[in-house]
Symmetry: C2
Subunit: 350 residues, 2 copies
């Protein structure tokens, strides 16, 4: 099995830097758009055959080192009784803003509410047959609450921040429920075969440090602890939070995923050596010419040269409209220059 | 004249911390909404009598230490030939994305393109009659380019970042034109009577440090240098950029305005003592109960106790829907606890 991704998560020596790409199954791929012309986003997520098909698409094109199951962080909220549509952004049927609404949220087992995810992961493992590991994922509680309280994606997510100041106890109650549901949801994925999990905290950067500790990090810590016994690497990706890196590194995760705002060597210096790092090429960099993409990708790897535990990735999801040639250039950069300094090949293999 | 705002900008002793509020003339005020029911946003900005009226509204309610002329950072782009509407967010008639479009941008004098701003400032000075200073303002070139290239406000402002990687020379050309226009525009405002100016860099936080230096900071430095001879304090407000504070402090401005993400004492420690700081109460904090608002405002001031040069403000514009009672609590906090540690009143005045 290609295990360099899992080895890098654990800061073990690897033959070269592993690469996967956030949102690697997505709209930049014509074959993905072809599937989406036929079915809605929700149908795609909830039909294991289709979810597996699009999860495999990027691996057919590029020699990536991990597959990630195709889904959306908001889907497991259906376990809480929340209904939503995607067009293309998510829209909750009803924002969750009052104490009564929070108390009314159900907590159905993920296995009942999202059986399709477990089934898709099982099928994906079978299809891959050890070629690459499978990553499962969930949203972090604060980020999920940002959507739930707002009712949709909206710059600044003012509603959850208003709740934080107006009624912090209700927000904590909501975060508690989300945390429990996410632990259950991640466990379901790992038991179905996910070999690593990523927790996406896309909006924690909206918080100042003390708030981050109380309303985001605390709950992420509980999730990490809640899956620790399953013995799979946990990646915590915190977006737009250059002021929170030191704190984020204490969540208990094996890997910290960072966005493009902080040069990765500076991030490494700030969080210390006892956590692997994932990232952090700017997704917009893939709109440069292929030669420049390669140079920029090499620059990220050069900044991590000599440090064990680096997983190459973008600093956020790959963008619709990204040229395929750019992804090829990124792949080439990793294959040609992703040799890890702490990997000692046997002399006859050099 | 109440000059504690101007004195704090220059890090001179003051009798108490001065206070003004970004977007203090705005939708949270019923009297502002009443004006907006009668006229469009653009008509309001372009009719000096009305712009002066709404600029004065917050000062009639609250004992603030500065007035800011009511306008929008995008308006002077009409000097470049760009046409736009507001509904309520800005929308450019045509995004500026090609070399030809950038080259076609005119550079009319601000006095011709935006005479109403100069006239409004003159009238506002007269109306205030020294009660408080008047602040003029403009957008920073990268932030203006973010809107111009995108064509509207949009989370992530992908278009300008794509241009940065795809065609950095065209972007630099655009930034150069914007810089020249903004210098002219700020000079117009100061010559009309503005006693301080603020440069708003709302979206520079989308850049990594090296890009920030090349595509944002460099041009802000030129603007600051371009108005230096007019001898008014310059405030540089950079939003959502906790990773850029040290760099932002080198723009040459007298004051650095910071958003709510970084505790202000930490910001002060990072940028050193030779620049005043403005901020940084979270605008969402004003949705807490008045007693809590007061406590949070006092906390900000306590973090700056003993440091000369603090202007109390929010960490971003005041939000529509903010309760008036919260602003009153903020005012009370400043009046009761905003005594500057380095102010030495004469003994008989104590």
């Amino acid at each position: 099995m290609n295990d360099r991704f899992l080895r890098a998560c654990r800061r073990q020596p690897v033959d070269r830097t592993p690469l996967w790409i956030m949102r690697q199954a997505g709209r930049y791929l014509p074959e993905y758009r072809a599937v989406r012309e036929r079915v809605s986003f929700l149908t795609l997520c909830k039909t294991p055959e289709l979810a597996v098909e699009v999860s495999l698409q990027p691996l057919r094109r590029f020699p990536l080192d991990a597959a990630i199951i195709f889904s959306d962080i908001l889907l497991p909220l259906e376990a809480l009784g929340c209904r939503m549509t995607f067009n293309p952004g998510p829209k909750l049927e009803e924002p969750v803003r009052t104490r009564a609404q929070v108390e009314a949220l159900q907590q159905r087992p993920a296995a009942e509410a999202a059986p399709f995810v477990a089934q898709a992961i099982r099928m994906l493992r079978q299809e891959l047959d050890g070629r690459t590991p499978v990553i499962g994922f969930c949203g972090a509680p604060f980020t999920l609450a940002a959507y739930l309280v707002q009712g949709e994606g909206k710059e600044g997510f003012g509603a959850v921040k208003t709740m934080l100041y107006q009624d912090p106890v209700v927000l904590e109650h909501l975060l508690q429920k989300l945390t429990e549901t996410m632990i259950d949801y991640l466990r379901l994925q790992v038991l179905a075969g996910a070999q690593a999990v990523q927790i996406f905290d896309s909006w924690a950067g909206l918080l100042a440090p003390a708030q981050y500790e109380a309303f985001a990090l605390r709950w992420v810590r509980e999730i990490v602890a809640g899956v620790r016994d399953l013995n799979v690497p946990v990646i915590y990706f915190v977006n737009g939070a250059p002021h929170l890196l030191e704190a984020a590194a204490t969540a208990g995760s094996d890997v910290l995923g960072i966005c493009w705002r902080t040069p990765i060597d500076q991030a490494a210096a700030r969080v210390g050596p006892s956590i692997a790092l994932q990232g952090n090429l700017d997704p917009h960099a893939l709109f440069a010419e292929p030669e420049e993409v390669k140079r920029l990708a090499e620059d990220v790897m050069a900044r991590m040269a000599g440090r064990s535990g680096h997983i190459m990735n973008l600093g956020h999801g790959i963008l619709p409209g990204t040229p395929i040639a750019s992804v090829e250039a990124l792949v080439a950069a990793v294959q040609e220059h992703g040799r890890s300094a702490d990997y000692a090949p046997t002399p006859w293999a050099m």
